[in-house]
């Protein structure tokens, strides 16, 4: 019932619905926590645990973070560990990488990943490739994090999804959390990882509350990078998604369940390394695949998944061609009606599922 309400709201007012939506049920839980607070707590705990960890970026200190993700951290840790930077991405990303090379463990925040494009040379050429170029002499333990992909009404230059671009590059790990549990476990894992990790958050998910079990609240709760999670079991079709779209897949699954169609929803969690095995195992059970992403279709996440399925053992188990549900292949428009129709909606996912299942 709660899910159906959500579905109806999502159709009309995505942002409001998301902010008010019900949490997705889990076993006997201890607390409810938003993605924002999960990220905040994860950083707080890691800053406390290891004095080499520090955070830098625009507005992260005295402003408490542009999206309040670093709220309270500057007050607690001070200027040395929480550093406000000027608006110079290429410079401060490079400084973060240099600090990582010299023994620190920086968290470099991009206010959105759109701005990381200015610094992308430092992420790829200075961070990602260095361990390989040095044949193991120089490692770069750094996390680049920030909101990625579409938001609401921020138009073309502020809405791009970078999962495919960063996911393309060897030497990087790329993760894309959906739930508060994902955010917490993956961020802690990313900070403790000795390699460059691109951590793609989502602005629209920041305020969404999730239940968090006691186990997940423990200080050493880590989610292994490179492993997907099955959020919902099903027999008829496999839905693979990352970040906010996981929620839409679950909503679509809830609607279809009433019609007797049981979807298996996989939350990728990691873009690189990609857990192809989890997807293959699922397809071998369901025989159908639909991928769902917010980014552009050409050379995107779905394209990679489909290619891998073609090339791997699961191909023979497909009863229909695998398809992708993606953002529309255009720069993001501003007007609400146009924006709403630029990214996948629940009805688009349901439509693609039914076409694939031929029902």
């Amino acid at each position: 019932m709660a899910s159906l309400r959500c579905f109806l709201r999502s159709g009309k007012n995505a942002v409001a619905a998301v902010l008010r939506r019900e949490f997705h049920g889990t076993p006997p839980a201890a607390v409810q926590i938003t993605v924002r607070d999960a990220l905040n707590q994860a950083m707080d705990e890691e800053l406390e645990r290891d004095e080499r960890v520090f955070l830098l970026g625009e507005e992260v200190a005295q402003y408490d973070g542009a999206y309040k993700i670093s709220r309270g951290l500057w007050k607690k840790y001070g200027d040395k560990r929480i550093i406000d930077t000027p608006i110079t991405e290429m410079g401060f990303a490079g400084i973060a990488v240099g600090a990582a090379m010299a023994g620190l463990r920086p968290i470099c925040e991009f206010m959105t990943f759109n701005f990381s494009m200015q610094a992308i040379d430092q992420v790829i050429n200075s961070a990602a490739k260095t361990y390989y170029m040095s044949a193991g002499l120089q490692s770069v333990p750094i996390v680049f994090r920030g909101p990625n992909g579409a938001s609401a009404g921020v138009a073309a230059q502020h809405s791009q999804c970078f999962a495919a671009w960063y996911g393309h590059c060897p030497g990087l790990k790329v993760v894309s959390p959906w739930s508060a549990e994902d955010a917490r476990g993956l961020l802690k894992a990313a900070i403790r990882d000795d390699n460059p990790v691109v951590f793609l958050e989502n602005e629209l998910m920041y305020g969404v509350p999730f239940e968090m079990s006691e186990e997940v609240q423990s200080k050493d709760f880590l989610i292994p990078i490179g492993k997907a999670k099955i959020e919902r079991q099903g027999n008829h079709i496999t839905l693979v998604s990352h970040s906010r779209m996981v929620g839409l897949c679950l909503d679509a699954a809830a609607v279809l369940a009433k019609e007797g169609i049981e979807c298996e929803v996989i939350n990728m969690r990691s873009i690189r390394p990609l857990d192809a095995e989890a997807i293959e195992t699922s397809i071998m059970k369901t025989n159908h695949l639909v991928t769902v992403e917010g980014g552009w279709p050409q050379f995107g996440i779905g394209a990679e998944i489909l290619a891998r399925i073609m090339e791997g053992p699961a191909f023979n188990y497909l009863d229909a061609p695998a398809v992708r549900v993606t953002g529309v292949d255009i720069p993001m428009p501003y007007a609400k009606i146009l924006e709403d129709n630029s990214i996948p909606q629940i009805k688009d996912i349901i439509f693609s599922i039914k076409k694939t299942l031929n029902v």
Partner: protein
């Protein structure tokens, strides 16, 4: 007599900063050993060029004391670098070295002088003309040459090549023009954060000097008072473009604006050393970053694919060689002040020639890295990984 000599020798070896080190002129010769160098001067004071200053009331000293020991060491290091680069030139023309090869000959005084002015525990990063710095930062000629020839005995196991060599406290070797400067400022941030009184020397060229990210680095380094010595090696040409055609202002030592700067004769190893000491002291005292412009010259073109004579005259190159060659300048200084004799210089040269030959021999005979190494070193401290090969059936193994 012997005791007195030992005492004097020990006092003199104490270093250039001891005030008691009087100018030892040719008139008074102190015997400090019973070897054939009996009549040689153990040290001398030299005049060096005054630096142009920007936002500084005082600059480095205009006099410096050079000990025989240091002088011979600088000579040996510079000559080794020179011969190493010339050998690389040879190997490149024989197609044993491939790809990019940016040679440093002519600029030796910069690398050697800088190293003499800092500690091994300090940090250094440069761009792609890096073979000299790789050497001064502690990598052997053998490992450098084997990296150039792409062999498993190379410092990066053959996987990096000319522009990607690393060592302790040496962060390469960087191929993207200007990208190393924010990295260097970041290393300086780590120095400040870790509180070990270390500095980072961050080098770039006259071509890179116009890069936006360098100014971004200046801003943050000054704001946060990072212990960063920014050094512009101005060899007058950014690839084929002279400084006049690339920069609206060629006073590179002033381009840091609010950052104090000095312009130094980069062909004189003693000037570079003195200026580096001055700059390091400045940074270590917590005053923030400082900028040095070293005026220097490269004999080779930008890289081995550039003959280097389409944008400058052979006469110009020859003039620098005959009047300002850093190795010759040092050698002449030492000989004319009786700090060394020709014979021992010849011996050193012969030793170096042998070392280079052996290194080249190793570099040409060492095998290439094994194919099993292809996918290794993607991630540090990680479980083994499977990497896709050129086709879906090729599953390669990657370990840390």
């Amino acid at each position: 007599m012997q005791n007195m000599l030992t005492v004097i020798a020990n006092a003199l070896k104490g270093g250039a900063k001891i005030n008691g080190a009087q100018t030892v002129s040719e008139g008074s010769r102190v015997v400090i050993s019973a070897r054939s160098f009996a009549n040689l001067t153990p040290q001398a004071r030299f005049d060096i060029k005054r630096c142009d200053l920007h936002r500084l009331d005082e600059g480095p000293s205009v006099q410096t004391v050079l000990t025989r020991e240091d002088g011979l060491r600088y000579y040996r290091t510079m000559q080794t670098m020179r011969r190493m680069e010339l050998k690389a030139d040879q190997l490149y023309k024989q197609k044993i070295i491939r790809g990019f090869c940016h040679l440093y000959d002519g600029q030796e005084a910069c690398a050697v002088g800088i190293e003499a002015g800092i500690n091994p525990t300090d940090h250094l990063i440069t761009a792609y003309r890096a073979h000299g710095y790789t050497y001064t930062r502690g990598v052997s000629v053998k490992e450098i040459m084997a990296e150039l020839t792409g062999r498993r005995g190379g410092v990066a196991k053959g996987k990096g090549g000319s522009m990607h060599m690393y060592a302790k406290n040496f962060y390469g070797g960087n191929g993207i023009v200007g990208a190393q400067v924010p990295l260097g400022a970041g290393v300086a941030l780590a120095c400040q954060y870790q509180g070990k009184n270390e500095v980072c020397v961050t080098l770039y060229g006259d071509g890179a000097a116009n890069q936006g990210q360098i100014f971004e680095s200046f801003n943050m380094a000054a704001l946060w008072k990072l212990p960063c010595i920014f050094i512009c090696e101005n060899n007058k040409y950014g690839m084929g473009t002279s400084v006049e055609r690339a920069s609206a202002s060629t006073d590179y030592y002033k381009r840091g604006d609010y950052i104090p700067g000095l312009r130094v004769d980069g062909m004189d190893v003693l000037s570079v050393r003195e200026a580096t000491r001055f700059a390091a002291d400045y940074c270590r005292s917590g005053k923030g970053p400082i900028l040095m412009e070293l005026q220097t010259y490269r004999y080779h073109g930008h890289s081995m694919s550039d003959p280097g004579v389409s944008y400058r005259t052979r006469e110009e190159i020859q003039e620098v060689r005959s009047k300002s060659d850093p190795i010759t300048v040092l050698k002449d200084r030492m000989i004319s002040n009786n700090m060394a004799n020709l014979e021992e210089i010849k011996d050193i040269d012969a030793e170096i020639r042998k070392e280079i030959e052996e290194a080249a021999q190793f570099a040409t005979s060492d095998p290439e890295p094994p194919l099993e190494d292809l996918c290794n070193h993607i991630f540090y401290n990680d479980a083994p990984l499977e990497i896709r090969g050129t086709n879906p059936w090729m599953k390669l193994k990657s370990i840390s």
